[in-house]
Amino acid sequence: MNRRPQFRFIATLIACATVPMNASDIHFTEVARESGVDLTMTCGATPSRHILDVNGGGVATFDFDNDGDLDLFFANGATIDNPEKGPGSRLYANDGAGKFTDVSEKYGIDISHWAMGVAIGDIDNDGFDDIFVTCYGPNILLKNDTQKPGVGKFIDISEQAAVDDDRWATSAAFGDIDADGDLDLYVVNYLEFDPRKPPSREGIKYKGVSVMAGPHGLKPQQDILYENQGNGTFKNITQNTGCLVDQPGYGLVALMLDFNRDGKQDIFVGNDSTENFLFQNRGDNTFDEIGQLSGIASNMDGSNQATMGIAISDIDGNGLPDSIVTSFSSDTNTLHLNIGDGFFEDRTAQFGLGLITRPFLNWACAFYDFDHDGDEDLFMSAGHVYPEAATTQIDSDYEQPQLIFKRRDSTRFERVINAGTITTEKIRGRSAAFGDIDNDGDIDIVLTQLNGPVKIYRNNTANRNALSVELRQNSRNHRAYGSTIELTIGDQRKIRWIHGGGSYQSFTAPVAHFGLGLKPPKTAALKITWPDGTAESFENISTSGIVTITRGQKNVTIRPFKK
């Protein structure tokens, strides 16, 4: 080797080591087909004719067989002509390296009527995650007996569990609202729609363009809160708990979380075109609806928005969960900071998430540290509901690139436009679930489209410094929904919440993920606040790999990421 190439090589190494991370550090590659997921989602006609046609289907990342990797479930729809007979929802098993096999038939997944969304929770505390599917038509609860000797399948227990309500449900969320150790269920309902008498498009216009009817003018439906009876059945307790509202919203999403950190799980419901609800848990199995009072029901001007999705993160570092809700085009999404004392303030503009999102209609969303630089970035799926949508007609296209915002500094997010096809290809994005599907330490994205192929975006971040944390409780709420995980690393403290619901019609595996920057210390400390408020601390946790913490056990297990 002569001296010049050697010098170049060394210079390149030095440059790589010193170049600060920037927006281009977030990059994804679309790998659905090569991962074995060749699935086209169905939801009504193409082009969409009615409001029932536009929601798309949901997706879940979860480990149904407890083999340590994330499997996938897709809630697939049908068509108005034949709402009982669609192509069917699908379950895919992960081989541990991000390669999937369709195991729907093997494990008894036989849902052909119109599925919308999915929630995951271990309803019987047997240590295996069960599947709840929201539907246009009776909802479905699939008990996970796949590892049970002599069964080996998911068993449909919807009717016996009394959760087979047949209104149009969109999303659902599990959480332990009464702190009795089992998972209760909130089901979000949308509106009344009779396919035999679909609402007329006559005279319905948006920006002068003739479009489909709804949701205004159609009758919104009450949501349902179910209490887990601990015996495999659920009881509808909506009426007695304060969750039956005078004016129901057009519900699209819910998230269960302790927003005021009083140790009780609250319920945040995102409604389309009507005000959002925040049901604050009083601790006696009753709730106060404080959406308006708290300021989270609408944007700063009091406008009810077309909320589609919800994501949470501690944006301002005050230890309280802040939220973003996605919304319609020609409006902005809204970021509410949780400022304490039960109040939220619209700080969308402050963080650079206002005007820039106006051309997009956003749905699913999540905050994750996609580039491992130490702060959480933001993903929002995008795609319009109106097939007539075109920039030249209504300032927004029918098919849209997906949105990624990188956290630039303590006060701003910045849109990333060069993260691969995820941010350039125009598609009809809808639901999304997240997780490290190839176990390499970073967060990948699984995205459904409206009547289009599923996309799996593999994260290519070069920085491998990350820590994932999973929680376990034996015999009760085994994934520990409602827990808080605080990581202290160097002089920084980061917080994550384990919760049910969020995103849009989807479920994301309850794994806390921390990006650790370029040169993290070798160890960190973790403080776990379990759902009942009990706290446990763990020192000298190695800062790489997947940490599993089981309640009451001082020894944690750490699995290394795959290379």
Partner: protein, 278 residues
Amino acid sequence: MPIASRYSLVLHLLVAILVANGAIAQEKISPSQDKRDQTEQTPSGQSPPKPGDSEKPIDPDGSVIRQCVQLIGQRQFEQARTLAQRLVRDYPRSSRAYLMLALTYHKERKYEQAEPLLKKAVDLDATHHPPKMFLGWCRYYLGKQDEAEEAFKAYLPTNPDYPDIHFALGLIAYERDQLEEALKRFDKAVELAHDQRRNADEAKSRARRADVLIRQNKLEQARDELITAVRLNPQLYGAMFKLSRVFYRLGDVESARKAKQMHDTVREKRRPTRGHPE
């Protein structure tokens, strides 16, 4: 349509006629109509800049423009567009003809279509200033913050005493979290609107000034600003909502409830719930 809105629209359109005719080249029309910004504009008394004299007057008796404006008022945008397109065809070098056509899109909130027409209007006659302001708002509503600012700043020297231009620049500064700059702009907008007795303009600028104060956690000042805003413009329901939020945070639950109730009543009158999602 509520009477107040109709009255406001008539005023805007009346001014639009004059602007498009070249009788005045002043920005008396309110181009800001975003749902987040309740903007009420009334003609001011300040002296307008002179229109560019490079252009022949279009539509000498004003009949085409009057008809066009009427159609826009009746939300018959397609028909209005047909007339405006005729103007553009007949006067292809006329900035005012392009402005008229752009307005048929702008009033329908089709900013993507209005934008190139306004750009064309600006390019055709740099001394015809109103299109610059409309161009700024179009870009603002399209999420093009930097380009909106550029258009607003191009307009600013031509009419520095126009409150709405400072209001617009204040909004952009607020979006960028440049709070001191935003405060400065809203202060100027308030001062100008007050001097010109433009109550609605003063009210909306005070309401946005209150946003900055809330961000700065100066809740009492924000409350006072919002009370003044609502007094100046009892139709400004957005300010009533903010006032209710501030009252809640200050612990005055009763006043908060009243403000919210007022908001709900006025809002329903002014913007009754319509189709999805308008």
